[in-house]
């Protein structure tokens, strides 16, 4: 009987609300937008942070990356002055890191060359990287065909190269590039392998000065032999010559715990060895932590916005319910005269607000699930809807109905029946 009468009360509440359809719908808008913004913003925030974290993870969370940076004061401003700027990481740095740092699993030197890559009549300017066989292990990018640079290549100064998937496709769209002779700069290199494509990401743009996202890899020793340490960059009319021994040293730590000491040691060592700040130390793990912190702040900000809109929605509901209570004073009087207890009146009005807020909540969930889909489609952003978000939003909307319905319901129940009956 109790359950049946509750069901009856809910049906009654819905009936009363349907009596003023437009008003009921408008009332739910606040909750609707609040709930949908909770879900949508959480989904967008989650997607963005996931994307950032994935990018960082791709750099390797156990890696410490030392990078050469052209010092600021070395920038030649205009003029046709031709000079050699010498900066960056050195082989000496690499040896020290690889051989003396504790906790280092492997270290990989990378040199970047500015060379045109050509196969027959198709030419490209990708990133040409000279490195050692270990590179593949550090970055975790397996080959799709053939093999990566081997130790033997290093020892023999072999004229071989490995192409990134994108480069290989551009140079030879219809057949494999394995075994083909690729012209890099002025010399020919036999292609021995092709790497798998990168995981495509929203912001995966080609590196500055490169045409495609893919890369070309050469054995370090071979590259040094053919191209030397000095490179000529032609940039908007002026020629710049740079002498950089290594552009990057990727250090992989044995464990996550070993990452911070290695980063600290690298910073200290480089600070002592380099007169100018011509390097940077990138620690993806630190970035990961920072990204998580950013995500936390992001979530707090978004939740506050959502909370405010839900609060506004709740106040809207309360306002309308107070008006409804006043409007239905007479009905309350009648019901009281016919035997309704205070709790019956409270239940009746509370059920109405809860129906309103849950109705708004459900519509809000629908809209909130739609928004991420639209965002993904039109703004090309990744979004992730966690299952907890709609549940949370639903619970919040029900709670809002109860919290903001309580006062109007209480007011209704505590009216004097005689006064209420006299109300016009």
């Amino acid at each position: 009987m109790k359950r049946a009468s509750l069901l009856g009360t809910v049906r009654l509440g819905v009936n009363s609300l349907l009596l003023h359809k437009l008003r009921s719908i408008l009332t739910t808008l606040g909750v609707l937008f609040g709930v949908s913004s909770v879900i949508a913003m959480l989904a967008i925030g989650e997607g963005a942070s996931e994307e950032a974290q994935e990018q960082i993870r791709k750099l390797g969370s156990r890696n410490v990356i030392l990078r050469s940076v052209k010092p600021a004061e070395d920038v030649v401003s205009g003029g046709e002055a031709t000079r050699i700027s010498s900066y960056g990481l050195t082989d000496f740095d690499f040896d020290r890191v690889a051989e003396t740092f504790p906790g280092v699993l492997r270290a990989v030197p990378v040199r970047q060359l500015q060379q045109e890559v050509r196969l027959n009549d198709r030419a490209l300017n990708p990133r040409v990287l000279a490195t050692i066989p270990e590179y593949v292990n550090v970055t975790g990018r397996p080959t799709s065909e053939g093999r990566f640079i081997s130790t033997e290549d290093q020892l023999r100064f072999a004229n071989v190269c490995v192409l990134g998937y994108e480069v290989a496709r551009y140079l030879s769209p219809f057949e494999t590039t394995i075994g083909k002779r690729i012209k890099i700069g002025a010399d020919y290199f036999t292609c021995v392998g092709v790497l798998l494509p990168r995981v495509p990401l929203g912001s995966d743009q080609p590196a500055p000065g490169a045409d495609v996202t893919g890369e070309v890899f050469l054995p370090m020793e071979t590259a040094r032999r053919w191209f030397g340490d000095i490179q000529v960059k032609i940039r908007s009319g002026s020629r710049e010559m740079e002498e950089v021994q290594l552009h990057e040293i990727i250090v992989e730590a044995e464990s996550d715990e070993a990452v911070p000491p290695i980063a600290a040691a690298a910073r200290e060592m480089l600070a002592r060895q380099h007169k100018q700040k011509d390097y940077e130390v990138v620690v993806p793990l630190e970035q990961l932590l920072r990204a998580q912190e950013t995500k936390r702040i992001f979530t707090i900000v978004l939740s506050s916005i959502a909370a405010i809109s839900l609060l506004v929605g709740g106040i809207g509901i309360m306002n309308v319910m107070l008006a409804t209570v006043t409007e239905r004073t007479r009905e309350i009087g009648i019901r009281r005269a016919l035997g309704a207890k205070k709790r019956h009146i409270v239940t009746q009005f509370l059920v109405e607000t809860v129906v309103l807020s849950i109705g708004g909540g459900l519509l809000g969930i629908a809209l909130g699930l739609l928004i991420p889909i639209l965002v993904e489609k039109f703004a090309d952003m990744r979004t992730i809807v966690t299952p907890a978000a709609p549940l949370l939003a639903f619970a919040i909307s029900a709670l809002i109905g109860i919290v903001f319905g309580l006062y109007p319901a209480w007011r209704a129940a505590n009216m004097d029946p005689v006064e209420a009956l006299r109300h016009e």
Binding site: E331, A337, L338, G339, K341, K342
Partner: protein, 246 residues
């Protein structure tokens, strides 16, 4: 048929020394001032008096939606002053049937649901409530309109629904407050005829009115003045079919 003076075994509403004082602004208004009376089962009374005579206050007290400042009021032997708000509500849902001047049906409910409202609020609703409501709708001549909303009915029909609602809980007293006040004279006579029939069936009816002709339809009339009984008179109309005879 109207038997029984004070002391009869079937008193449904006993009022002893009832005083009801309102505070308006600075001064007190004694709406009822030492009112004592006993209504017996099956009686049909009209309560009359000019405005300010205390008849509305009396009606509210009888209907248990208001409490006396001092004095004792028993409904079927139950002392109202001892009850808390919930118990009082329960008493209303069991023992009181209200018929209002402006019908006071609940607009979003249909006829059957409106009739069922008092049972809805009972702690222990009877199992045959819906049958009873259907029978009463039939009894007041609205058996074919159970699914209609009040807005779809005429004033007379709405008042019939209200009367059915007032009877559904088989109350000790049916309180009618200017029940014909909003109706045209022909419809009013129909409603009064319905009251006559209910009286004949043994219902206890108290009809509050300021219209002499309506008041005379009751078996007896209680006239109030300044919160006290002014006059008690027997009306010899009985069940005269023609209300205009006087």
């Amino acid at each position: 048929m109207a038997s029984g003076g004070p002391g009869s075994a079937t008193a449904v509403a006993e009022l002893r020394d009832i005083t009801r004082v309102y505070r308006m602004g600075g001064h007190e208004v004694r709406a009822l001032d030492g009112f004592s009376f006993t209504f017996q089962k099956g009686e049909y009374w009209s309560i009359m008096g000019s405005s300010g005579s205390g008849k509305s206050t009396l009606l509210n007290l009888l209907g248990c939606i208001d409490r006396a400042t001092t004095g004792s009021y028993r409904v079927r032997g139950e002392e109202v002053a001892d009850l808390d708000d919930d118990q009082l509500s329960d008493l209303r849902s069991r023992e009181i049937g209200f018929v209002f001047q402006s019908y006071n049906l609940i607009p979003q409910l249909d006829v059957l649901e409106n009739i069922l409202v008092p049972l809805f609020y009972q702690d222990d609703p009877p199992a045959d409530g819906e049958e009873r409501a259907r029978a009463l709708a039939e009894r007041v001549g609205l058996g074919s309109r159970l699914g209609h909303k009040p807005m779809e009915l005429s004033g007379g029909q709405q008042q019939r629904v209200a009367i059915a609602r007032a009877l559904v809980n088989d109350p000790a007293i049916v309180l009618a407050d200017e029940a014909t006040g909003n109706l045209d004279s022909k419809t009013a006579l129909e409603i009064l005829a319905l009251f006559d029939e209910l009286h004949a069936e043994g219902k206890t009816i108290l009809l509050v009115t300021h219209e002499g002709k309506v008041g005379e339809r009751a078996e007896r009339t209680l006239k109030l003045r300044d919160g006290r009984i002014d006059e008690v008179c027997e009306n010899r109309v009985g069940l005269a079919p023609d209300g205009n005879s006087r």
